[in-house]
Symmetry: C2
Subunit: 701 residues, 2 copies
Amino acid sequence: MHAQPIVPQLDAGSAEAKREEIRGYFHTTWDIYEKLFDVMSSDESYLVRPDPLRHPVIFYLGHTACFFVNKLVLAKLIPERVNPRFESIFAIGVDEMSWDDLDEKNYDWPEMAAVWEYRRQVREMVDELISTMPLSVPIGWNDPFWVIMMGIEHERIHLETSAVLIRQLPLEYVESTPDWPICERSGDAPANELLPVPGGTVVLGKDRSHGLYGWDNEYGRRESDIPPFRASKYLVSNDEFRKFVDDGGYATEQWWTTEGWSWRQYVEAVMPRFWRREGEQWRLRCLTAEIPMPWNWPVEINQLEAKAFCNWQAHRTGRPVRLPTEDEWYRLLDISGVGDMPHWDTTPGHLNLDGPASSVPVTENMTAGFGDVVGNVWQHTETPISGFPGFEVHPFYDDFSTPTFDTRHNLIKGGSWISTGNEATRDSRYAFRRHFYQFAGLRYIETDAPVEVQDDIYETDDLVSQYCEFHYGDEILGVPNFPRACAELCREAVGKRKISRALDLGCATGRSTFELARFADFVTGIDFSARFIKVGHEMQQNGRIRYVIPDEGELVSYREQTLADLDLADTADKVEFWQGDAHNLKPRFDNYDLVLAANLIDRLYDPARFLDEIHGRMAPGGVLVLLSPYTWLEEFTPRDKWLGGRKIDGENVTTLDGLQAALTPRFRLMGEPRDVEFVIRETARKNQHTRSQMSVWERVE
Amino acid sequence: MHAQPIVPQLDAGSAEAKREEIRGYFHTTWDIYEKLFDVMSSDESYLVRPDPLRHPVIFYLGHTACFFVNKLVLAKLIPERVNPRFESIFAIGVDEMSWDDLDEKNYDWPEMAAVWEYRRQVREMVDELISTMPLSVPIGWNDPFWVIMMGIEHERIHLETSAVLIRQLPLEYVESTPDWPICERSGDAPANELLPVPGGTVVLGKDRSHGLYGWDNEYGRRESDIPPFRASKYLVSNDEFRKFVDDGGYATEQWWTTEGWSWRQYVEAVMPRFWRREGEQWRLRCLTAEIPMPWNWPVEINQLEAKAFCNWQAHRTGRPVRLPTEDEWYRLLDISGVGDMPHWDTTPGHLNLDGPASSVPVTENMTAGFGDVVGNVWQHTETPISGFPGFEVHPFYDDFSTPTFDTRHNLIKGGSWISTGNEATRDSRYAFRRHFYQFAGLRYIETDAPVEVQDDIYETDDLVSQYCEFHYGDEILGVPNFPRACAELCREAVGKRKISRALDLGCATGRSTFELARFADFVTGIDFSARFIKVGHEMQQNGRIRYVIPDEGELVSYREQTLADLDLADTADKVEFWQGDAHNLKPRFDNYDLVLAANLIDRLYDPARFLDEIHGRMAPGGVLVLLSPYTWLEEFTPRDKWLGGRKIDGENVTTLDGLQAALTPRFRLMGEPRDVEFVIRETARKNQHTRSQMSVWERVE
């Protein structure tokens, strides 16, 4: 049809040639996007919502132009907007919205002619920029041309997703055109079968020097070992899926996940979304027309339906059938030898608009014995998207990926007939809500390997994130990292004592637990908050945590921290984390040579009780290290339980006095108390800056 | 009777002689206090409450011993307590309490024998300390012996206040003893008259080198000019007061203050508390007995009754009659030539237990034509107590005075027959709630001078105090004072412009308003908060503010700041403070050459409106200086009004972007924005440490 160009290589060629290549790529993209809208039957059809929770089609036409302007403004590459009103109304609402966001009164859509004129103006402006902006090769992700590429690839994404939406419009609003031909080949479906895929190592993720434009979620690196598995030879055809439908698959809760069944009940689905049934006749809705059901085309369903099909299939066959994970999908890709842009000679599947504007039979594009390794329709996976280790947000599009790192967006792989540009490259990673439709189906696999879902999603709990940064983040205001400093001071305090067992009480997100393990044989971290403990666990298990911290107002930064970067990788197997109450520890927590309680005592509901009992957890001669800013608050500690910082029998009692009274005679104060500063970041500009008092106590009784 | 010794001079004599003098003073005090309790008729009477809201008498017997121990522990002069239980139950509850503090079940009073034994033990311990503690002359208020003097003088206060309480016990619980004889002289009262007192300057307050022990409220210095006035020759006698009673004074609301009438209604008073009426016979309750009314003794009433009497007298005579202020009382003292301890040869009035244990006729002690300039009974004043300029809290007794600096405690002056030690010195200052009884009456004066009540009481509003310290307090964490830095940066920013009028918008407690007046001819400070503006006003009017800041838990510090100490005394007449809304300023606030808005914009409910209108308040070429940490909170600013720090049309907009958009083209950004740090103290250990961004804008349109 309109086979699209190979994506520009950003790290090779002369500057001027690259400028012209990008200019061409821009205009081709602009043209094909506008051409898609040829199928709209009238200006009125642009105002029809393809889905009750989506904007009408006019939005998507304006949106890709508006996106260019907004990103160029943000990057300060253009001094002013093209049309501030349009750049507001076409800016947001790409995804499914809630009903009240869509209140019609919020939208006063412009005339179609104005939208086309706006697109013309933006096209001219971008062309002018392409002609005049400084360009040097390679083009990196901080360069002005990266923003141009971002706008282009963004429009290519919408080429596909707008096609999906247009497919959902009633037929009266669309018309067939020769530019968007439906495949005329169809017939009986082949019998599917499972073929072996050898095990091996999969390496995912690009580094910054990669020669193609990429979205932020493509960078970083993940390596995994995949055991051998078997994969279905073909994508599941309409015919193969019909057995599930005929078997009452849509009426049988047991095949569905909780989420899947909930969705099915809500939409009252009885078959795939684009299937039609007229008496005994089955038909399929394509982009612009309905046709008799092509049984040997791949079925198009959402991830929830794909998963239900696999569960049904597993039950039916008694085999461990499921969707592939992202890694498993790449393993099949790797052994198939399918080529990747820009290095392919011919399109390695029904991809890149290099064929009809619809699916084709599942048997037409075979590679290494498998059909449609890439192309035709996307393939659902078991894997919710998350960033690879080393992930960083692009500053000009910080919400491209991170909102999807929520375990609710699953990856689709391989591309479809209308996937072009970045979408058609090996490394691209797209993910949608599991109930969303794309041009997507499935290949199932058989394996005993469990699915490991990465749930190292970005911590967004304000307090937990604040403590993640406090423990693992950057030094602020020149004050050394507090949990690390505490551990270092513990090391000084214990001197030559051998520390077999250390206890980090009130460990919060666990940094000092790891730090203590630099010199202690084993360290227990305990905190009252399960939310905090979860971070320590995650750091221990994955060696990595991720969280979001506020910068200014609602603007945020995304952070990733690793044990390795903190030179703590070796400590992971020397620590344990438990949720627990410092007043009431389980019996197993005993015989500690060192107990650190940093910023704990003024958060206990009965600190005197804690101090009265802690000797029972310690080995003779053990060392107790207390740090606290003595910020007594009735929210945490009833006033009459404050160790100090109050009048007792009419006289001022400091907390240090109270500590001395509570710990004598079982403990002996070692040396003079000293102050240890700490800083907790609240925003990019605002911090808490506090001094804790440290006192070190030796158990003498 | 038992004339008491002259108070020890702490700045003269040899150490060993001083040690013995103090030992003697201690034992004399201990003896006379115990002797007072000879009038208790039985052990049971100790358990009777003299007042429904006061402890029984046993508490006061134990309390003065317990006080020694508690202060010595606090001062770390003794290693352990004498009797922890007693030192808890006898510690608090000296003053009137609320009914629920007095719940009987909270108190399990010991046997009397145990209390006496406890007093013996404490006496022995203190004697031992006096014998052994290091002593050098002079004894200053940080020295160990100051704590001894504190305990002694504390007991001397209770000698008097316990006598007042015992006087309130029913007669069955007391018995007369020869040691506490009631005066037998009484007769017709003299006609009172007003005598002139020449005007002059009164200087109050001691400095630290003063030779006698003093409570914290005596230190500092206040000077005032007193215009001539007239004062009643005698204290008001029972006879003179009876005219008020007979005239229906207790039934006539118009003579009473609101507080006074409220008290009268509550207690249903119809005559002075210690008066009795049996048919036509009037009698007076003395310490241990009732006697026929001695009409020529001074009337004993509380301050509210004294004030009502004056108002009645003023109305009756058509003259401006009222109580004297503290300063006016001293003016009369000064012209009377009454001697002061330790420099008197004979007691200058019925004072220091140098006579009967009751009042005496008002005619017996004449000095310079006036009766009872000091002694006989205390004299009520118009003046609520507050600290003199330079006041500091004593670290071992931080709640001796400050809780009374609340405008609800009025000074009584001159002492009574049972005032001894510090109470009997010129410089002592005692104040009680206005409805309390002491051995106190009144002398009235006639003057046109208005009463100026100092309301520079300690600011205790947490937020206001925090800002007082932020603006006027010490440098914290090495970060320069922020409002001062802002003003300095304004001075740099305006360069050689002449600044006739400057506006400090969001001035809070006003420091930068004063600072701007170093180089601006006139500065207007405006803040939305009347609570903040009040501080600026007070600083301007009095050159001084006082506030309380939290240190640790409920422990606090008292602070005084003066314009003079900040070298800002000259600016007070170049500033004005107004409460106002930055969005909606009165027309008169215009034509400013400089507008400073520090930490304001993120606290406005519509910052864009403010920025849109501010040029109208400025002279052409005027300079607008904005500082803000951009801490946007929905509590202050609806999210859709945030200037930045949010996504607008899907893209991140920083506040600086938002400022630029809002101020262009009326203003031009001068130079690059820069950061200015500030620190706000929350406790002695905890601070907010923030960076504001400063941008400077010149009005160009």
